[in-house]
């Protein structure tokens, strides 16, 4: 297993050996500093806490500074944990750097990021509802959700809607994990991972890259 934190740079295309044009996402990943090694005895679970991307010096908070100091590092903007199996030996020690070379023998990865926020979205965009006709006498309800329930269907239960009824509301800006991306290339010099397909979030957003759980 391996995990890295990174920053989405953007998308482009590359040719594979068959001459197929592949869509790829370029991620600048690592080097990530190991800020803390959590063990079963001290924390109740086993994990490696790693940090990516420095905080501007004038904006460093004292507690964060102290935490990073234990690993002889500067405080980091993006900190995540890599959960390990119970009682497993941590592959990296405190203060060590994890680089893209950790992915050198890995072909498939899962990537988690924060999706682009869409604001308050209607049901057509948010849930893929069909909406109403544009014409044929349809008035003022072209993108409306339609009936959301009848009073009778909930008689004796307070006259409320069913819980989980799909309606308009805030969309996006949530954690999204996309699985089994093929790892197309690694540039150890520039700390770059080239990942096939699209990854959640805007360019410049932070992402977590893990070895695929299901596909080897």
């Amino acid at each position: 297993m391996a995990m890295l934190l990174g920053k989405k740079i953007g998308m482009t295309q590359v040719y594979d050996s068959d001459g197929k044009l592949l869509p790829v996402t370029v991620v600048q990943a690592g080097p990530c500093k190991v800020l803390q090694v959590k063990t079963n005895e001290t924390d109740g679970y086993t994990a490696i806490q790693m940090g990516f991307s420095d905080v501007k010096k004038s904006r460093v908070k004292k507690p964060a500074e102290g935490h990073a100091k234990k690993a002889e590092a500067t405080s980091k903007r993006f900190i995540r944990e890599w959960r390990l199996a119970e009682g497993a030996e941590a592959p990296f020690g405190l203060g060590e750097d994890i680089t893209v070379s950790a992915f050198s023998e890995i072909t498939y990865v899962d990537v988690s990021g924060t999706s682009k926020g869409k604001g308050f979205a209607g049901v057509m965009k948010r849930h893929g509802f069909g909406g109403f006709p544009a014409s044929h006498g349809c008035k003022r309800k072209h993108r409306a959700p339609g009936s959301i329930s009848s009073h009778a269907s909930d008689l004796g239960h307070g006259g409320n809607l069913k819980k989980g009824k799909r309606m308009g509301g805030h969309m996006g800006d949530v954690r999204v994990t996309t699985k089994n991306h093929q790892l197309i290339g690694i540039d150890e010099e520039r700390n770059i991972l080239v990942i096939k397909g699209a990854v959640a979030g805007a360019a410049g957003g932070y992402v977590e890259i893990r070895q695929s759980k299901t596909k080897q």
Binding site: Y15, D18, G19, D187, R190
Partner: protein
């Protein structure tokens, strides 16, 4: 910085040495074609009527009249399946896109020749 990193990935797929040709040129395009597990080279001959895109998206459009039917193929310039493009004859043109050739038939399709140093004999 961002474009620099994107370019570093993209550049690996770009061809080091690009064939030299212009719109209006009559070209032979050497295509690699895979049939099952057999690989062979096919030549598509025609007039370059447009060049488009930049970087890895660069393409060129070749038009030929086969029988009575005009055939146009758009090739990605950097595709490994486009092995070579050889300019056979240069045509005299005043514009970058020669879409007006689509409306022409017969002898009018042929552009008048312009002598140019980048063409090669077959």
């Amino acid at each position: 910085m961002i474009t620099e990193l994107l370019d570093s990935v993209e550049n690996k797929s770009l061809k080091q040495k690009l064939p030299v040709f212009e719109t209006g040129d009559t070209v032979d395009v050497y295509c690699r074609i895979k049939e099952g597990d057999k690989v062979r080279t096919q030549i598509f001959n025609g007039t370059v009527i447009a060049r488009g895109g930049r970087g890895i998206n660069a393409t060129f459009t070749v038009r030929r009249v086969a029988g009575d039917e005009g055939v146009e193929r758009i090739f990605p310039l950097h595709s490994p399946n486009v092995l070579d493009v050889r300019a056979i004859r240069s045509g005299k043109t005043r514009r970058a896109k020669l879409f007006f050739l689509r409306d022409r038939t017969g002898k009018a399709v042929k552009l008048s020749q312009r002598h140019s140093s980048h063409t090669v004999a077959r």
